[in-house]
C-alpha cells in the first residue's frame, strides 16, 4: 500500500462520512458545513488525479460561493435558530433501498469491466494552458465556453428576477 493509497482511503472515508451527515443531520447549518467537508474531500480527489486547477476551482466555486450562498438561504428561510423534528419524509426507507440498489448495481458494473490500474500517461506540465487554448479554439470548446457564459448570464437574470421584488423591504 503506497502513501497515495493511504491518502486516498482517508479522503474517501472522510468524504463519504461527511456526505452521509449531509443527508441525515437534522440541523440544516450543520448539513451545509458537512457539505463543505465533503466538497473539500472531492477537491482532494481532484488533486490526487493531478487536476490541480479543478481542485482550486472546486474550492473557490463550491466552498467559497455555493456553500456560502446555501448558508445564506438557510439562514434567510427559517424561523428559529434550531431545527426541530425529523427532517426526512416518510419515504426515507424506500429511498434508502433504492440508493443501496443503485450503489450495488454501479459497483457490479465497475467490477464487471476491466479497467486500467494505472494511467496511460502523465499529465503534461502545460495542462492548464492547454485547457485555456481548448476553451477558445474553434476545434475545441469555444461554443460551450460562450454558451456557458450566456447560461450564467441567464441564470443571474432569472434568479434576480425571481428573488427580487420591490415589496420585500
Amino acid at each position: 500500500m503506497t502513501a497515495m493509497q493511504i491518502v486516498f482511503i482517508l479522503t474517501a472515508v472522510v468524504t463519504l462520512f461527511a456526505a452521509l451527515r449531509v443527508v441525515t443531520t437534522p440541523n440544516m447549518i450543520h448539513a451545509a458545513l458537512w457539505l463543505i467537508v465533503a466538497l473539500f474531500g472531492v477537491a482532494v480527489f481532484y488533486l490526487l488525479l493531478s487536476a490541480s486547477f479543478l481542485a482550486m476551482a472546486q474550492i473557490i466555486v463550491y466552498i467559497g460561493a455555493i456553500a456560502i450562498l446555501m448558508m445564506f438561504v438557510i439562514m434567510l428561510t427559517r424561523r428559529e435558530m434550531r431545527d426541530r423534528g425529523p427532517q426526512t419524509g416518510p419515504q426515507w426507507k424506500w429511498a434508502a433501498i433504492l440508493s443501496a440498489l443503485l450503489f450495488g448495481g454501479l459497483v457490479w458494473m465497475v467490477k464487471s469491466v476491466s479497467l486500467p490500474a494505472s494511467p496511460v500517461a502523465e499529465v503534461p506540465e502545460s495542462s492548464i494552458a492547454d485547457l485555456g487554448r481548448a476553451l477558445v479554439s474553434p476545434n475545441g470548446f469555444v461554443i460551450p465556453f460562450e454558451v456557458a457564459s450566456v447560461l450564467l448570464l441567464a441564470a443571474l437574470i432569472g434568479a434576480v428576477y425571481v428573488a427580487w421584488t420591490r415589496r420585500n423591504s
Binding site: L47, S50, S52, F53, A57, I60, V61, G64, A65, I66, I68, L69, F72, V73, M75, L76, R78, R79, E80, M81, I128, A129, D130, L131, G132, R133, L135, V136, S137, V142, F145, E146, A148, S149, V150, L152, L153, A155, L156, I157, A159, V160, Y161, A163, W164, N168, S169
Partner: protein, 117 residues
C-alpha cells in the same frame, strides 16, 4: 505532487497553531461560568425575543451575483494562462466572454439588486 504534500502539511499546521492557542487559553485561563456570564451579550440587557431576525434578501442577491462572477472568473484563468500563445480571434473570444460578464453586472445594476437600501 510533492509540492501538494508540502501544502497539505502547511494547511494542517495552520489549523494546528490556532487550535493550540485555543487549547492554551482554555487550560491557562480560569473557568468559572455562571448564568449571567454565559448569557447572550446584548449591551447588558436581557435578550429580547428569539435569536432570529428576518434578514434582508439583499444579502442573498450580493452572494448570487458573486457566485456568477466567481464561476466566470474561474473560466477566465486558463484563458489568461494560455494568453501568450493565443491568436487574435481567441483573445477576442475572451473579450466577448468578459463583455457578457459585464452585461450580467449591468443587468443586476439596472435592476437595483446592487443598491444597498
Amino acid at each position: 505532487m510533492n509540492s501538494w504534500l508540502y501544502i497539505g502539511i502547511f494547511v494542517a499546521l495552520s489549523l494546528f497553531f490556532p487550535a493550540l492557542l485555543a487549547v492554551l487559553g482554555w487550560f491557562l485561563g480560569p473557568r468559572r461560568p455562571n448564568p449571567v456570564k454565559t448569557d447572550t451579550y446584548e449591551c447588558g440587557l436581557e435578550t429580547v425575543g428569539e435569536t432570529w431576525v428576518q434578514f434582508k434578501i439583499q444579502y442573498y442577491l450580493f452572494a448570487l451575483v458573486f457566485l456568477i462572477f466567481d464561476v466566470e472568473l474561474v473560466f477566465l484563468y486558463p484563458w489568461a494562462v494560455a494568453y501568450n500563445s493565443l491568436p487574435l480571434y481567441a483573445v477576442v473570444e475572451g473579450v466577448i466572454f468578459i463583455i457578457l460578464l459585464a452585461a450580467a453586472l449591468v443587468y443586476a445594476w439596472r435592476k437595483g439588486a446592487l443598491t444597498w437600501s
